[in-house]
Amino acid sequence: MNVTYISNLVRSEGDPKVLRSGPSSLGTADQLAKALGWFSLALGAAEIVAPRRFTRALGMEGSEGLVRAYGFREVAAGLMTLSPDKTTGLWSRVGGDALDIVTLLSGLRHDNPKRANVACALSMVLGVTLLDFVGAKATAARHTRSKGQRRLYHDRSGFPKGLQAARQARRKLPTQSRSPSLAPSSAA
């Protein structure tokens, strides 16, 4: 039972309650962005809280400060990816992925005993980069303003008698239509 059905508990007897859900306004691209946003938050939190685990696993001891900084970057990108500005969030993740790749490449040196782990991490980051890139392109395409027809509305004045007649229509506001400061205090 999901939250939608649990929330029926707070509704009054005569309020409508959900029986069956229809298709969501969230498209596949939005769902992907949402998943990547939460992933970003989780990874960022882990990097902030336990940077040593990362550096130890990657043979990059001494870089804890850098990992923690990357953690804050991940959290910021995650928040943006989960917000209505998801495309910007995903492109910022792509940029972050590039930084991660460059950093990991420096760990691929021959004297690193955890070189295999670094290679494994690198392949994962490359996979996530691909997802971020695809997600950014897809959300940009889905939410671009240029979708659909371009129309101008120069013919929609809203004044059936014309603009000139509307400009001359000024008349005294009726008593009940005055601004609050002028409203009569009939309750007194």
Binding site: G148, H154, L173
Partner: protein, 391 residues
């Protein structure tokens, strides 16, 4: 029945839900014939306003036919009556209602205890607009229960189409109140930020109320073209400085009256760095609102002028220049719309052919297309300005 239901951030679905039932003697059930997506629904779509729950039915602009009434409606509404439902639920009897301050009705918010804690004092119940304002199911549905229906309705004649009268429930009186509370004088320049549906109504209202000059600020060409058609001089803030152009158009003195028809989600753009800072803070929950327009209005408004704010703000806005506001002696007037205060007059103006609010409708679709239309409207795709849904 079918209804557009909020399931989370940017997640609206056309669900099958149980039919609403009469709960109180003063309730009525309305079969919805037309409803609309409002700009303020987008704040809920983005989850920027707290206290939405998955399963909440959206929508606060609707009209239809009365199909059932409670015994306490006392003949003020009968089966078959055609009504527009105002977005503010009013009792018509409390001290505020008697003063015409309908949007702060003292009785209709059924979550008064929570609202008292959050706002200091509760405001009126609203349809489809979070549990802070009563958690009442909205009208983007086939049927809606209207509480306090004997007071919460606007009867409309059969001679007018749904499209002509639907907006009496929200955006037309909202734009009208925004202009009316500017106390417009015949020599005034009124500047309107935002050419969405409320901005368009505010522009036309300012014209009808006799402003000498109305200036509209936006960046979307189709919205600016509609503003121009309504009699406004337009400023595209992507192409020119709003402050410089407003000063040019007013002999260097600034507009006497400024209307913020944007609210908490002003556009983020590198040419206005404060918008980027606001967006970052909003994302990190350090600030709930992005008040760029408010800052700009305070800066450019002529000393002694009036700032009217129909745009929705939800909580806390940073860096509002109180020094400029105070020293320039500006007056701020704001609030949710006291819909029923204005509707008799506005309905009369529609009947007389003075204005036809249907000009703003760009898309009319079935209810099942509602979830997709939230996206189209939010992303301003397909030159979308106003969506009407037919359940």
């Amino acid at each position: 029945m079918r209804a557009l239901v909020w399931h989370g951030k940017e997640d609206i679905r056309c669900d099958t839900v149980t039919d609403p039932e009469i709960e109180d003697d003063r309730d009525a059930i309305i079969k919805v014939t037309s409803c609309a997506i409002c700009g303020s629904d987008l704040h809920l779509f983005h989850n920027f306003i707290p206290a939405m729950l998955p399963g909440d039915i959206m929508g606060h602009e609707m009209m239809g036919e009365v199909v059932e009434v409670g015994s306490g409606v006392n003949g003020k509404l009968r089966k078959g009556d055609r009504v527009v439902v105002p977005f503010t639920i009013i009792c018509g009897e409390c001290e505020q209602c008697k003063r015409g301050n309908f949007s702060v009705c003292e009785r209709t918010n059924r979550n008064k205890q929570i609202a008292d804690k959050v706002f200091g004092h509760a405001t009126a119940g609203l349809f489809g607009y979070t549990h802070l304002t009563g958690g009442y199911p909205g009208g983007q549905a086939e049927y809606v229960r209207v509480p306090y229906a004997d007071a919460t309705h606007i009867k409309v004649p059969d001679s007018l189409t749904d499209e002509q009268v639907l907006f009496l429930g929200d955006i037309f009186p909202t734009g009208w109140q925004a202009a009316a509370q500017c106390d417009i004088e015949p020599t005034d320049t009124v500047a309107v930020w935002g050419c969405g549906p409320v901005g368009q109504m505010a522009i036309r209202s300012a014209i009808l109320l006799g402003a000498e000059q109305v200036i509209a600020v936006d960046r979307i060409p189709e919205r600016l073209s509609m503003a121009e058609a309504g009699g406004a001089i337009t400023i595209n803030f992507d192409q020119e400085s709003v402050v410089e152009r407003l000063n040019d158009l007013t002999g260097g003195k600034g507009p006497e009256k400024c209307i913020d028809a944007i609210g908490m989600e002003s556009h983020v753009t590198p040419s206005q760095p404060d918008t980027i800072l606001d967006r970052a803070k909003q994302m990190m929950m350090l600030e709930s609102d992005r008040p760029h327009v408010l800052r700009e209005m305070i800066y450019v408004c002529r000393p002694g002028g009036i700032l009217s704010i129909p745009g929705v703000y939800s909580g806390f806005a940073d860096k509002v220049p109180m020094g400029q506001l105070m020293n320039k002696g500006l007056t701020i007037r704001t609030g949710q719309t006291h819909v029923n205060r204005w509707t008799d007059d506005l309905l009369h103006r529609i009947e007389e052919g003075e204005i036809d609010p249907s000009f703003v409708i760009t898309h009319t679709v079935g209810l099942e297309q509602g979830p997709e239309m939230y996206k189209v409207f939010r992303d301003k795709q397909d030159s979308c300005i106003k969506v009407v849904l037919k359940p």
